[in-house]
Subunit: 256 residues, 2 copies
């Protein structure tokens, strides 16, 4: 059955969506059947793949809050082997609506049960917070992949992220493991980037993926064309780096 991979970090703008889309696309390219779940109210993983959600069209919101079957919202993307459960701005209210709900942390986990049989990998893009949406993703996941931007503030939040992962593992999902930390937006010309790389490797050792994602404007341009980097510019440094990262993820899943 499928592996569920949450891409999470409460720090904003560190490359969660870019990593979720790029890894999902690279895995699909290598022959996997992949489902990308967009759990962020901003819906960037959905629009980054060129998918527009019409008013009234069911989304992951209807699944998590309304109990709708997942297969009723899943869409094909333009990439063979990659399907999407689109996000929507309605999710912004979900954090509050989930508070009094029954089984509020397990909603996504239950909804993904049928998806596990139909796919090899499910990738969940999380919003920049440690609220109930991210808790749902961590409860549903087998592994969590943590993008870390090569900048100072990126180091600050890692302590509370790990505490939250430990909390979810002890209370809600005993199987949850950190599959690794991936350094993103690495600008090899700056001292700052190298300082952050050194610090992250000191803290997390082998948990840090060997692959590092360079800062590259092509990665920032791709979402404007509704394409993952592997399609938008297949030979670019960003595409090569994310294919290597996807291969490392598969390697680690095999070891698990």
């Amino acid at each position: 059955t499928a592996t569920v991979l949450a891409v999470a970090n409460q720090k904003g703008g560190v490359g969660k969506t870019t990593t979720a889309i790029s890894v999902a696309a690279a895995l699909a390219e290598s022959g996997c059947h992949v489902l990308l779940v967009d759990l962020d109210p901003q819906g960037n993983a959905t629009s980054g793949l060129g998918i527009r959600v019409a008013v009234g069209q069911p989304t992951i919101y209807d699944v998590v809050i309304g109990g709708m079957d997942l297969h009723r919202v899943v869409l094909d993307s333009a990439i063979a082997g990659l399907r999407v459960a689109p996000g929507s701005i309605d999710l912004a209210g979900a954090e509050i609506e989930l508070v009094p709900a029954v089984n509020r942390e397990q909603r996504l986990r239950r909804a993904l049960v049928p998806a596990r049989a139909a796919h090899d990998v499910v990738v969940v893009d999380c919003p920049p917070s440690l609220g109930l949406l991210t808790v749902n993703a961590l409860t549903a996941a087998d592994f969590v992949l943590v993008p870390i931007q090569c900048e100072y503030y990126a180091l600050e939040g890692l302590g509370s992220l790990r505490r939250n992962v430990d909390l979810v593992r002890s209370q809600l999902n005993p199987n949850l493991e950190v599959i690794g930390f991936v350094l993103t937006m690495l600008d090899a010309r700056t001292k700052l980037s190298h300082q952050v790389v050194d610090e992250v490797r000191t803290h997390f050792g082998d948990l840090v993926f060997r692959t590092r994602i360079p800062r590259s404007v092509r990665l920032a341009e791709a979402p404007g064309f509704g394409q993952p980097i592997t399609v938008f510019d297949p030979g670019s440094r960003g595409a090569l780096a994310y294919r290597r990262l996807a291969a490392e993820v598969v390697e680690r899943l095999g070891d698990a």
Copy 2:
């Protein structure tokens, strides 16, 4: 009495904290008495000014959730004229704890009443979400300053941000106005940046500040030294841009 300025955008990593710290520091440098309120659970505005909160030390969490008097948490920063109401990771729970609370949207507004008499400007740094913490900031504010990163995803969320501002104005705070949109991390070498600049100016016209903040590694390095850019590298492009922005903010406040 003081003007309260919320710095908000639910998109992550667009420069909210950097803008809040830099504008607050530039205003203090020009002689204003400024209070910076860190409403983000990540506490970046607090650490970006070199302030470490000890375990058990009261923070803005105790004010918003516990009803503590604001003056009991306010600290001096290293910058003359700039004081800080520090944030803390406890705020991560505040989104959920506020849901059933009485007057849950007005908590910060009420807490800031005494601060309005003691300062010229109060700047509130918001987390990357449209939850109850940001709603508290918008309810307490006279104006909202919106940083927009010069990248594709930054354009997507502006519609829902404006809807939320309109919602808060109609339901909770009739005086709330958007003081302006400031373009951040502008890399003049990329086509993407110029496309975003054009698009934002088409949408928002004169609401867009003339000052644009360039992408500059000195701005990313400053928080590692616990200093605002105006102190860390007073002659840098980032410091000059933020001083100009602060002057434009004052100009617009005068017109209001």
